[in-house]
Symmetry: C2
Subunit: 241 residues, 2 copies
Protein backbone atom coordinates (compact mmCIF):
# COMPACT_ATOMS: atom_id res chain seq x y z
CA UNK A 1 0.00 0.00 0.00
CA UNK A 2 1.20 3.52 -0.71
CA UNK A 3 2.56 5.86 1.91
CA UNK A 4 -0.40 8.17 1.25
CA UNK A 5 -2.60 5.61 2.99
CA UNK A 6 -0.61 6.05 6.13
CA UNK A 7 -1.35 9.77 6.34
CA UNK A 8 -4.85 8.97 7.53
CA UNK A 9 -5.27 8.35 11.24
CA UNK A 10 -8.62 6.73 11.98
CA UNK A 11 -10.33 8.03 15.13
CA UNK A 12 -12.88 5.67 16.62
CA UNK A 13 -15.37 7.16 19.05
CA UNK A 14 -16.37 3.99 20.84
CA UNK A 15 -17.49 2.30 24.01
CA UNK A 16 -21.13 2.18 22.90
CA UNK A 17 -20.83 -0.67 23.77
CA UNK A 18 -17.24 -1.73 24.33
CA UNK A 19 -17.69 -5.21 22.79
CA UNK A 20 -19.04 -3.62 19.63
CA UNK A 21 -16.00 -1.30 19.55
CA UNK A 22 -13.60 -4.24 19.86
CA UNK A 23 -15.53 -6.05 17.13
CA UNK A 24 -15.47 -2.99 14.88
CA UNK A 25 -11.72 -2.57 15.22
CA UNK A 26 -11.20 -6.28 14.51
CA UNK A 27 -13.28 -5.90 11.33
CA UNK A 28 -11.33 -2.81 10.27
CA UNK A 29 -8.05 -4.69 10.69
CA UNK A 30 -9.38 -7.81 8.95
CA UNK A 31 -10.51 -5.98 5.80
CA UNK A 32 -7.44 -3.74 5.48
CA UNK A 33 -5.36 -5.11 2.63
CA UNK A 34 -1.73 -5.87 3.36
CA UNK A 35 0.46 -8.58 4.70
CA UNK A 36 2.53 -6.95 7.46
CA UNK A 37 1.74 -4.75 10.46
CA UNK A 38 3.13 -1.76 8.63
CA UNK A 39 0.45 -1.97 5.90
CA UNK A 40 -2.27 -1.16 8.43
CA UNK A 41 -3.85 2.18 9.32
CA UNK A 42 -2.87 4.10 12.41
CA UNK A 43 -5.90 4.18 14.64
CA UNK A 44 -6.80 5.86 17.89
CA UNK A 45 -9.77 4.58 19.84
CA UNK A 46 -11.54 6.40 22.64
CA UNK A 47 -13.77 3.81 24.24
CA UNK A 48 -15.89 5.42 26.92
CA UNK A 49 -18.52 3.01 28.22
CA UNK A 50 -19.66 5.66 30.71
CA UNK A 51 -21.31 7.66 27.89
CA UNK A 52 -24.96 7.83 28.96
CA UNK A 53 -27.29 5.36 27.26
CA UNK A 54 -28.28 6.73 23.84
CA UNK A 55 -31.65 4.99 23.68
CA UNK A 56 -32.64 6.32 27.11
CA UNK A 57 -31.68 9.86 26.10
CA UNK A 58 -33.72 9.63 22.89
CA UNK A 59 -36.74 8.26 24.69
CA UNK A 60 -36.60 11.24 27.03
CA UNK A 61 -35.55 9.54 30.23
CA UNK A 62 -31.79 9.89 30.39
CA UNK A 63 -29.01 12.48 30.26
CA UNK A 64 -27.89 13.84 26.92
CA UNK A 65 -24.67 12.06 25.80
CA UNK A 66 -23.60 15.02 23.63
CA UNK A 67 -20.97 16.40 26.07
CA UNK A 68 -19.36 12.93 26.34
CA UNK A 69 -19.28 12.60 22.56
CA UNK A 70 -17.66 16.02 22.23
CA UNK A 71 -15.08 15.15 24.90
CA UNK A 72 -14.22 11.91 23.13
CA UNK A 73 -13.94 13.70 19.79
CA UNK A 74 -11.53 16.17 21.35
CA UNK A 75 -9.34 13.31 22.63
CA UNK A 76 -9.28 11.81 19.13
CA UNK A 77 -8.48 15.14 17.48
CA UNK A 78 -5.67 15.88 19.93
CA UNK A 79 -4.27 12.40 19.32
CA UNK A 80 -3.96 13.29 15.65
CA UNK A 81 -7.04 11.61 14.16
CA UNK A 82 -7.90 12.87 10.67
CA UNK A 83 -11.37 11.33 10.49
CA UNK A 84 -13.94 10.08 13.00
CA UNK A 85 -15.96 6.88 12.88
CA UNK A 86 -18.68 6.10 15.43
CA UNK A 87 -19.45 2.38 15.54
CA UNK A 88 -22.84 2.87 17.24
CA UNK A 89 -26.03 3.34 15.27
CA UNK A 90 -28.03 5.04 17.99
CA UNK A 91 -25.26 7.57 18.67
CA UNK A 92 -25.74 8.82 15.12
CA UNK A 93 -28.89 10.60 16.35
CA UNK A 94 -26.46 12.98 18.08
CA UNK A 95 -24.20 13.55 15.07
CA UNK A 96 -26.03 16.74 14.01
CA UNK A 97 -25.30 18.16 17.50
CA UNK A 98 -21.55 17.46 17.28
CA UNK A 99 -20.68 17.53 13.56
CA UNK A 100 -19.90 21.25 13.41
CA UNK A 101 -17.91 21.20 16.63
CA UNK A 102 -15.48 18.30 16.25
CA UNK A 103 -13.31 19.88 13.56
CA UNK A 104 -12.92 16.58 11.72
CA UNK A 105 -14.96 14.79 9.09
CA UNK A 106 -17.26 12.06 10.40
CA UNK A 107 -17.81 9.06 8.14
CA UNK A 108 -21.55 8.58 8.69
CA UNK A 109 -22.31 4.90 9.25
CA UNK A 110 -26.01 5.15 8.43
CA UNK A 111 -25.38 7.17 5.28
CA UNK A 112 -22.86 4.54 4.19
CA UNK A 113 -25.36 1.72 4.81
CA UNK A 114 -28.04 3.54 2.80
CA UNK A 115 -25.59 3.98 -0.07
CA UNK A 116 -24.54 0.33 0.14
CA UNK A 117 -28.20 -0.81 -0.04
CA UNK A 118 -28.93 1.48 -2.99
CA UNK A 119 -26.00 -0.05 -4.89
CA UNK A 120 -26.99 -3.70 -4.42
CA UNK A 121 -27.79 -5.71 -7.55
CA UNK A 122 -30.43 -6.73 -8.23
CA UNK A 123 -31.82 -3.47 -6.96
CA UNK A 124 -33.88 -3.79 -3.78
CA UNK A 125 -37.01 -1.79 -2.95
CA UNK A 126 -37.60 -2.85 0.68
CA UNK A 127 -35.18 -3.26 3.60
CA UNK A 128 -35.88 -4.40 7.15
CA UNK A 129 -34.32 -2.92 10.26
CA UNK A 130 -33.32 -4.52 13.54
CA UNK A 131 -32.19 -1.69 15.81
CA UNK A 132 -32.64 -0.20 19.24
CA UNK A 133 -35.92 1.56 19.97
CA UNK A 134 -33.87 4.77 20.18
CA UNK A 135 -32.52 4.38 16.64
CA UNK A 136 -35.99 3.60 15.32
CA UNK A 137 -37.70 6.52 17.10
CA UNK A 138 -34.98 8.89 15.90
CA UNK A 139 -35.86 7.84 12.33
CA UNK A 140 -32.20 7.58 11.32
CA UNK A 141 -32.44 4.83 8.71
CA UNK A 142 -35.90 5.97 7.62
CA UNK A 143 -34.59 9.38 6.63
CA UNK A 144 -31.56 8.10 4.70
CA UNK A 145 -33.44 5.30 2.91
CA UNK A 146 -36.38 7.56 1.98
CA UNK A 147 -34.01 9.76 0.03
CA UNK A 148 -32.84 6.76 -1.97
CA UNK A 149 -36.33 5.39 -2.60
CA UNK A 150 -35.98 2.31 -0.40
CA UNK A 151 -38.96 1.38 1.79
CA UNK A 152 -38.14 0.47 5.38
CA UNK A 153 -40.05 -2.19 7.34
CA UNK A 154 -39.80 -2.43 11.12
CA UNK A 155 -40.69 -4.99 13.80
CA UNK A 156 -44.07 -4.44 15.45
CA UNK A 157 -44.02 -3.04 19.00
CA UNK A 158 -44.13 -6.46 20.62
CA UNK A 159 -41.29 -7.94 18.53
CA UNK A 160 -39.24 -4.76 19.06
CA UNK A 161 -39.61 -4.97 22.80
CA UNK A 162 -39.61 -8.71 23.50
CA UNK A 163 -37.23 -9.87 20.79
CA UNK A 164 -34.90 -7.12 19.61
CA UNK A 165 -34.31 -5.14 22.81
CA UNK A 166 -34.12 -8.28 24.94
CA UNK A 167 -31.42 -9.63 22.63
CA UNK A 168 -29.47 -6.34 22.52
CA UNK A 169 -29.40 -6.23 26.32
CA UNK A 170 -28.29 -9.87 26.47
CA UNK A 171 -25.35 -9.21 24.12
CA UNK A 172 -24.35 -6.10 26.11
CA UNK A 173 -24.39 -8.28 29.25
CA UNK A 174 -22.01 -10.73 27.58
CA UNK A 175 -24.64 -13.41 26.91
CA UNK A 176 -24.47 -14.54 23.31
CA UNK A 177 -26.21 -17.88 23.34
CA UNK A 178 -28.63 -19.80 21.16
CA UNK A 179 -31.69 -18.20 22.74
CA UNK A 180 -30.38 -14.70 21.87
CA UNK A 181 -29.80 -15.82 18.30
CA UNK A 182 -33.29 -17.34 18.16
CA UNK A 183 -34.90 -14.05 19.28
CA UNK A 184 -33.10 -12.06 16.60
CA UNK A 185 -33.63 -14.68 13.90
CA UNK A 186 -37.36 -14.69 14.63
CA UNK A 187 -37.54 -10.87 14.39
CA UNK A 188 -35.54 -10.94 11.12
CA UNK A 189 -37.81 -13.63 9.71
CA UNK A 190 -40.88 -11.47 10.38
CA UNK A 191 -39.25 -8.58 8.48
CA UNK A 192 -38.59 -10.85 5.49
CA UNK A 193 -42.26 -11.89 5.59
CA UNK A 194 -43.15 -8.18 5.36
CA UNK A 195 -41.16 -7.96 2.13
CA UNK A 196 -37.67 -7.05 3.33
CA UNK A 197 -35.12 -8.17 0.71
CA UNK A 198 -32.27 -7.38 3.07
CA UNK A 199 -32.13 -6.84 6.82
CA UNK A 200 -29.98 -4.16 8.42
CA UNK A 201 -28.37 -5.35 11.66
CA UNK A 202 -28.77 -1.75 12.81
CA UNK A 203 -27.31 -1.95 16.29
CA UNK A 204 -23.66 -2.88 16.64
CA UNK A 205 -24.60 -5.60 19.16
CA UNK A 206 -26.90 -7.41 16.73
CA UNK A 207 -24.31 -8.99 14.39
CA UNK A 208 -22.61 -10.33 17.54
CA UNK A 209 -25.79 -12.27 18.36
CA UNK A 210 -27.06 -13.07 14.87
CA UNK A 211 -24.93 -15.07 12.44
CA UNK A 212 -25.67 -14.28 8.78
CA UNK A 213 -26.72 -17.89 8.13
CA UNK A 214 -29.54 -17.57 10.69
CA UNK A 215 -31.43 -15.23 8.32
CA UNK A 216 -32.94 -16.12 4.90
CA UNK A 217 -32.21 -12.73 3.30
CA UNK A 218 -28.88 -10.86 3.19
CA UNK A 219 -27.95 -9.35 6.56
CA UNK A 220 -26.16 -6.01 6.30
CA UNK A 221 -23.65 -5.29 9.06
CA UNK A 222 -23.25 -1.49 9.35
CA UNK A 223 -19.92 -1.93 11.20
CA UNK A 224 -18.48 -3.77 8.22
CA UNK A 225 -19.92 -1.21 5.78
CA UNK A 226 -18.34 1.58 7.87
CA UNK A 227 -14.98 -0.24 8.04
CA UNK A 228 -14.99 -0.65 4.24
CA UNK A 229 -15.82 3.05 3.79
CA UNK A 230 -12.87 4.02 6.02
CA UNK A 231 -10.42 1.79 4.14
CA UNK A 232 -11.71 3.10 0.79
CA UNK A 233 -11.34 6.69 2.00
CA UNK A 234 -7.83 6.13 3.35
CA UNK A 235 -6.75 4.42 0.14
CA UNK A 236 -8.26 6.87 -2.33
CA UNK A 237 -7.86 10.27 -0.68
CA UNK A 238 -4.59 9.66 1.07
CA UNK A 239 -6.10 11.14 4.20
CA UNK A 240 -6.07 14.64 5.57
CA UNK A 241 -2.83 14.42 7.56
Amino acid sequence: MSTSTKAEIIGILGGMGPAATADFYAKLVAITPGSSDQDHLRTVIWSDPTIPDRTEALLGGGPDPTPWLLDGSRVLREAGATVIAIPCNTAHAFVPRIADRVGLPIVHMIGEVARHLSELTPRIHTAGLLATTGTIRAGLYQEWLDRLGIRLVLPDASSQDREVMTAVRAVKAGARDDSTTALLARAAHRLAEQGAQAVIAGCTEIPLGLPTDAVDVPLVDPALVLARALVRRATTTGGAG
Copy 2:
Protein backbone atom coordinates in the same frame (compact mmCIF):
# COMPACT_ATOMS: atom_id res chain seq x y z
CA MET B 1 -19.02 -2.26 40.28
CA SER B 2 -18.00 0.75 42.36
CA THR B 3 -17.43 4.22 40.98
CA SER B 4 -13.79 3.94 42.05
CA THR B 5 -13.29 1.43 39.25
CA LYS B 6 -14.21 4.06 36.75
CA ALA B 7 -11.40 6.39 37.85
CA GLU B 8 -8.93 4.18 36.01
CA ILE B 9 -8.49 4.86 32.31
CA ILE B 10 -6.68 2.00 30.58
CA GLY B 11 -4.13 3.08 27.97
CA ILE B 12 -3.32 0.45 25.39
CA LEU B 13 -0.14 0.95 23.39
CA GLY B 14 -1.00 -1.23 20.43
CA GLY B 15 -0.69 -1.92 16.75
CA MET B 16 1.99 -4.59 17.26
CA GLY B 17 0.19 -6.10 15.41
CA PRO B 18 -3.22 -4.53 14.99
CA ALA B 19 -5.13 -7.85 15.03
CA ALA B 20 -3.52 -8.70 18.36
CA THR B 21 -4.57 -5.28 19.69
CA ALA B 22 -8.19 -5.85 18.62
CA ASP B 23 -8.07 -9.30 20.19
CA PHE B 24 -6.60 -7.92 23.41
CA TYR B 25 -9.30 -5.27 23.74
CA ALA B 26 -12.01 -7.88 23.07
CA LYS B 27 -10.53 -10.02 25.87
CA LEU B 28 -10.40 -7.06 28.25
CA VAL B 29 -14.07 -6.31 27.58
CA ALA B 30 -15.08 -9.97 27.84
CA ILE B 31 -13.50 -10.50 31.27
CA THR B 32 -14.67 -7.21 32.81
CA PRO B 33 -17.49 -8.00 35.19
CA GLY B 34 -20.73 -6.12 34.69
CA SER B 35 -23.90 -6.27 32.71
CA SER B 36 -24.24 -2.86 31.06
CA ASP B 37 -21.91 -0.67 29.03
CA GLN B 38 -21.49 1.63 32.01
CA ASP B 39 -19.83 -1.12 34.10
CA HIS B 40 -16.86 -1.20 31.72
CA LEU B 41 -13.52 0.59 31.94
CA ARG B 42 -12.78 3.69 29.95
CA THR B 43 -10.02 2.78 27.54
CA VAL B 44 -7.88 4.66 25.08
CA ILE B 45 -6.03 2.71 22.42
CA TRP B 46 -3.20 4.01 20.29
CA SER B 47 -2.74 1.45 17.57
CA ASP B 48 0.24 2.34 15.44
CA PRO B 49 1.08 -0.44 13.01
CA THR B 50 3.88 1.70 11.58
CA ILE B 51 6.02 1.10 14.69
CA PRO B 52 9.17 -0.54 13.29
CA ASP B 53 9.33 -4.32 13.63
CA ARG B 54 10.48 -5.21 17.15
CA THR B 55 12.13 -8.50 16.22
CA GLU B 56 14.16 -6.86 13.43
CA ALA B 57 15.35 -4.14 15.81
CA LEU B 58 16.42 -6.70 18.41
CA LEU B 59 18.25 -8.81 15.87
CA GLY B 60 20.20 -5.72 14.85
CA GLY B 61 18.79 -5.09 11.41
CA GLY B 62 16.01 -2.58 11.87
CA PRO B 63 15.30 0.88 13.30
CA ASP B 64 14.78 1.27 17.05
CA PRO B 65 11.02 1.47 17.81
CA THR B 66 11.66 3.40 21.05
CA PRO B 67 10.67 6.85 19.65
CA TRP B 68 7.38 5.45 18.32
CA LEU B 69 6.63 3.83 21.68
CA LEU B 70 7.32 7.11 23.47
CA ASP B 71 5.08 9.02 21.03
CA GLY B 72 2.27 6.55 21.55
CA SER B 73 2.68 6.75 25.32
CA ARG B 74 2.42 10.53 25.14
CA VAL B 75 -0.85 10.25 23.16
CA LEU B 76 -2.23 7.91 25.82
CA ARG B 77 -1.12 10.14 28.68
CA GLU B 78 -2.61 13.26 27.08
CA ALA B 79 -5.86 11.36 26.53
CA GLY B 80 -6.02 10.81 30.27
CA ALA B 81 -4.77 7.24 30.61
CA THR B 82 -3.78 6.32 34.16
CA VAL B 83 -1.96 3.10 33.32
CA ILE B 84 -0.34 1.62 30.22
CA ALA B 85 -0.64 -1.90 28.87
CA ILE B 86 1.38 -3.12 25.90
CA PRO B 87 -0.18 -6.20 24.29
CA CYS B 88 3.03 -7.21 22.48
CA ASN B 89 5.58 -9.50 24.06
CA THR B 90 8.54 -8.45 21.93
CA ALA B 91 7.91 -4.76 22.60
CA HIS B 92 8.58 -5.47 26.29
CA ALA B 93 12.28 -5.61 25.41
CA PHE B 94 12.00 -1.83 25.03
CA VAL B 95 10.13 -1.20 28.28
CA PRO B 96 13.35 -0.39 30.21
CA ARG B 97 14.06 2.35 27.65
CA ILE B 98 10.64 4.00 28.06
CA ALA B 99 9.50 3.18 31.60
CA ASP B 100 11.06 6.25 33.22
CA ARG B 101 9.85 8.59 30.50
CA VAL B 102 6.16 7.80 30.09
CA GLY B 103 5.02 9.23 33.41
CA LEU B 104 2.53 6.39 33.94
CA PRO B 105 2.75 2.93 35.44
CA ILE B 106 3.14 0.10 32.91
CA VAL B 107 1.50 -3.20 33.81
CA HIS B 108 4.26 -5.57 32.64
CA MET B 109 2.78 -8.43 30.64
CA ILE B 110 5.75 -10.73 31.01
CA GLY B 111 6.04 -10.10 34.74
CA GLU B 112 2.34 -10.91 35.10
CA VAL B 113 2.74 -14.17 33.15
CA ALA B 114 5.68 -15.20 35.33
CA ARG B 115 3.63 -14.49 38.45
CA HIS B 116 0.67 -16.41 37.03
CA LEU B 117 2.88 -19.46 36.29
CA SER B 118 4.42 -19.35 39.77
CA GLU B 119 0.94 -19.41 41.32
CA LEU B 120 -0.38 -22.44 39.40
CA THR B 121 -1.34 -25.51 41.42
CA PRO B 122 0.08 -28.04 41.31
CA ARG B 123 3.29 -26.05 41.20
CA ILE B 124 5.14 -26.32 37.87
CA HIS B 125 8.93 -26.45 37.47
CA THR B 126 9.23 -26.20 33.66
CA ALA B 127 7.44 -23.98 31.13
CA GLY B 128 7.80 -23.88 27.37
CA LEU B 129 7.82 -20.75 25.25
CA LEU B 130 6.51 -20.08 21.77
CA ALA B 131 7.58 -16.55 20.89
CA THR B 132 9.27 -14.47 18.23
CA THR B 133 12.99 -14.87 17.80
CA GLY B 134 13.30 -11.30 19.07
CA THR B 135 11.54 -12.09 22.35
CA ILE B 136 13.67 -15.20 22.83
CA ARG B 137 16.99 -13.46 22.06
CA ALA B 138 16.08 -10.61 24.40
CA GLY B 139 15.68 -13.19 27.16
CA LEU B 140 12.49 -11.61 28.46
CA TYR B 141 10.70 -14.67 29.80
CA GLN B 142 14.00 -16.31 30.77
CA GLU B 143 14.84 -13.46 33.13
CA TRP B 144 11.42 -13.31 34.83
CA LEU B 145 11.02 -17.08 35.18
CA ASP B 146 14.58 -17.57 36.49
CA ARG B 147 13.75 -15.31 39.42
CA LEU B 148 10.78 -17.50 40.28
CA GLY B 149 12.67 -20.78 39.92
CA ILE B 150 10.86 -21.97 36.79
CA ARG B 151 12.97 -23.58 34.04
CA LEU B 152 12.24 -22.40 30.50
CA VAL B 153 12.45 -24.69 27.48
CA LEU B 154 12.58 -23.32 23.94
CA PRO B 155 12.12 -24.66 20.40
CA ASP B 156 15.37 -25.66 18.67
CA ALA B 157 16.61 -23.31 15.95
CA SER B 158 14.89 -25.20 13.17
CA SER B 159 11.49 -25.37 14.88
CA GLN B 160 11.80 -21.69 15.86
CA ASP B 161 12.45 -20.66 12.30
CA ARG B 162 10.34 -23.06 10.27
CA GLU B 163 7.40 -23.50 12.61
CA VAL B 164 7.02 -20.59 15.03
CA MET B 165 8.13 -17.63 12.91
CA THR B 166 6.40 -18.99 9.79
CA ALA B 167 3.14 -19.21 11.76
CA VAL B 168 3.53 -15.74 13.34
CA ARG B 169 4.04 -14.20 9.90
CA ALA B 170 1.02 -16.09 8.54
CA VAL B 171 -1.23 -14.74 11.32
CA LYS B 172 0.07 -11.21 10.78
CA ALA B 173 -0.77 -11.60 7.08
CA GLY B 174 -4.34 -12.57 7.99
CA ALA B 175 -3.91 -16.29 7.26
CA ARG B 176 -5.21 -18.34 10.17
CA ASP B 177 -5.78 -21.74 8.66
CA ASP B 178 -5.27 -25.36 9.65
CA SER B 179 -1.68 -25.43 8.40
CA THR B 180 -0.78 -22.48 10.68
CA THR B 181 -2.36 -24.29 13.62
CA ALA B 182 -0.49 -27.48 12.72
CA LEU B 183 2.88 -25.67 12.72
CA LEU B 184 2.27 -24.18 16.17
CA ALA B 185 0.79 -27.38 17.60
CA ARG B 186 3.86 -29.32 16.45
CA ALA B 187 6.22 -26.78 18.07
CA ALA B 188 4.16 -26.88 21.31
CA HIS B 189 4.20 -30.68 21.31
CA ARG B 190 8.01 -30.68 21.10
CA LEU B 191 8.16 -28.36 24.14
CA ALA B 192 5.91 -30.72 26.13
CA GLU B 193 8.25 -33.58 25.16
CA GLN B 194 11.11 -31.55 26.65
CA GLY B 195 9.23 -31.42 29.96
CA ALA B 196 7.14 -28.26 29.65
CA GLN B 197 4.12 -28.52 31.97
CA ALA B 198 2.61 -25.39 30.45
CA VAL B 199 3.31 -23.53 27.23
CA ILE B 200 3.39 -19.75 27.03
CA ALA B 201 1.83 -18.44 23.82
CA GLY B 202 4.44 -15.69 24.06
CA CYS B 203 3.62 -13.66 20.99
CA THR B 204 0.19 -12.02 20.78
CA GLU B 205 -0.35 -13.58 17.32
CA ILE B 206 0.11 -17.15 18.60
CA PRO B 207 -3.20 -17.61 20.47
CA LEU B 208 -4.93 -16.38 17.30
CA GLY B 209 -3.46 -19.35 15.41
CA LEU B 210 -3.35 -21.98 18.15
CA PRO B 211 -6.56 -23.06 19.91
CA THR B 212 -5.98 -24.30 23.47
CA ASP B 213 -7.37 -27.72 22.60
CA ALA B 214 -4.60 -28.22 20.00
CA VAL B 215 -2.03 -28.55 22.81
CA ASP B 216 -1.76 -31.36 25.42
CA VAL B 217 -0.57 -29.08 28.26
CA PRO B 218 -2.13 -25.81 29.49
CA LEU B 219 -1.54 -22.95 27.07
CA VAL B 220 -1.01 -19.61 28.79
CA ASP B 221 -2.24 -16.58 26.84
CA PRO B 222 -0.27 -13.52 28.05
CA ALA B 223 -2.94 -11.17 26.62
CA LEU B 224 -5.55 -12.75 28.84
CA VAL B 225 -3.21 -12.67 31.86
CA LEU B 226 -2.54 -8.98 31.19
CA ALA B 227 -6.26 -8.22 30.79
CA ARG B 228 -6.98 -9.93 34.12
CA ALA B 229 -4.20 -7.94 35.81
CA LEU B 230 -5.69 -4.68 34.52
CA VAL B 231 -9.19 -5.52 35.73
CA ARG B 232 -7.82 -6.60 39.12
CA ARG B 233 -5.83 -3.36 39.40
CA ALA B 234 -8.79 -1.18 38.41
CA THR B 235 -11.06 -2.95 40.84
CA THR B 236 -8.74 -3.01 43.84
CA THR B 237 -6.84 0.27 43.64
CA GLY B 238 -9.60 2.42 42.20
CA GLY B 239 -7.09 3.77 39.73
CA ALA B 240 -4.94 6.84 39.77
CA GLY B 241 -7.48 9.30 38.31
